[in-house]
Amino acid sequence: MSAGLAAAPPARRDPAWSGRLAMAIAVALVLWPLLVATEFTPWTMLDAHSLRVTGRFLGEFYPPALSAEFLELVAHATGRTIAIATCGVALALVLAIPLSLVSTAALSVSRLSGRMAPVPFAVRLCTRVLMVGLRTVPELVWALVLVRVVGLGPTSGVLAIALTYGGLLGKVYGEILESADAHAARSLLVNGSGRLAAFLHGLLPNASAELCSYTLYRWECAIRSSVILGFVGAGGLGQMMDTSVKMLAGNEVATLLLVFVGLVALADLASAAARRALRED
């Protein structure tokens, strides 16, 4: 077991060193063009004029705007933001549920006897491509374009969320259905029942908890999206903040930032409680 070497081994070199060094140099080399391409010159924020503007702006942050009328506006905008998100997700479901049912392989009759037939496969592929397209276009882009069509206001926000989240939810629903226990659904399909019945009685009972939990999570995300969409005119908290910043009203901005922090904290608490409830269920 002892090494049994006649002479002491020569001092070894770390074989991984050259690879690591090369990687570090590569990262450093990439860093320079990154800094140039993003015009990264943070010291310009510290020149006299910039500092004066920033300083004045930041100085107004305290005390935050807490007048009754402003708070009423904030409450109204918060309600609007949540409503936009909720309606958006509701419409997204109208899109996502049929898309997921069509695209999921779990309801494939032709797959029961081996491989999926070409036509159903093509149909499923097209639905998947459609969903990819819907969700890859950033929702801000949808909203920006829709504003031109339907005008400023919540409609563009609701539709933008509906389109993006329709694609998102459709994809994940399909995956959840595929990963659920397919035994019941398969036996129903084999015995000739319709696909909808197979879904309702075979897949849905097993997958409902996961579907609900994911939808809840995405609803939370939709609220964040709704805030962001406000910056292009969809109303709500985002639009309020956009206006306040453009007016350099520091005190209003401070209040709105506090509202953001509060909303996320609430969402954290709610999802922690929901997770606990699901575990105990």
Partner: protein, 259 residues
Amino acid sequence: MASRWRLFLAASLFLAVGLCFWSLDLQWAALFAPESLRAMGRFLAEFFPLETGHAFLRKLAGASLETLAMSTLGTLLATAVAAVLCLPAARAADGRGVLWRAPARLLLNVLRSVPEIAWASLLLVAAGLGPMAGTLALALHTAGVLGRLFAEAIENAPPGPALALRVQGATAPQVLLYATVPLVAPQLLSYVLYRWENNIRVAAVLGIVGAGGLGQMLAFHLALFQMGRTGSVVAAMLVLVLLVDALSHVARRAMTRPG
């Protein structure tokens, strides 16, 4: 759960959603009227053909690179900040450093609660128009997200290696380097890649408020009603997002390969 309770929940859910629709007063009729549908159709048709002129494509490539640079640099900066902030924010196994935990967590929460576009609009005041504001906005928000994820990963790491070194009297930095980092590094890297994937989408649109890249081009051409060019910009965004998704997927697979 009792079925009556479930029914009550479903009913109140429907009611809540209905309330939301009612409160927003969406113009359904106007939206689905044949006139507006035709107008929408005409509007969409204006996107095609996409603009493919040489000079324009070169500008598009430049903007794409700028967007990619914004998201990459922003994610890198965020990783550096998160790596620093996650240390006090993580609950130490022996209860040390409790004083710094709350402020660190508060800072991380503030950073991640404010959406990137909100940070961008604020930074435009200080940094002016251009990609720097977008990069910093991405860095700030992502630092909050990553910091929290890093802290949780450190808290959930198996305690054995760190304990053994602490028994020997190793200092906190030594335990960090030799026990904690090797345990959590792969997971942290995976989080960073995931955020980089996400950030390319964000970087693409931050420009809409003036923070450079493809977003700024989009807003510009859309405002001028140059639909062909707008369509090309959207197409470029799609290509960029899909490219980064693919790269990140490859990188993630290379990491999890054994050895």
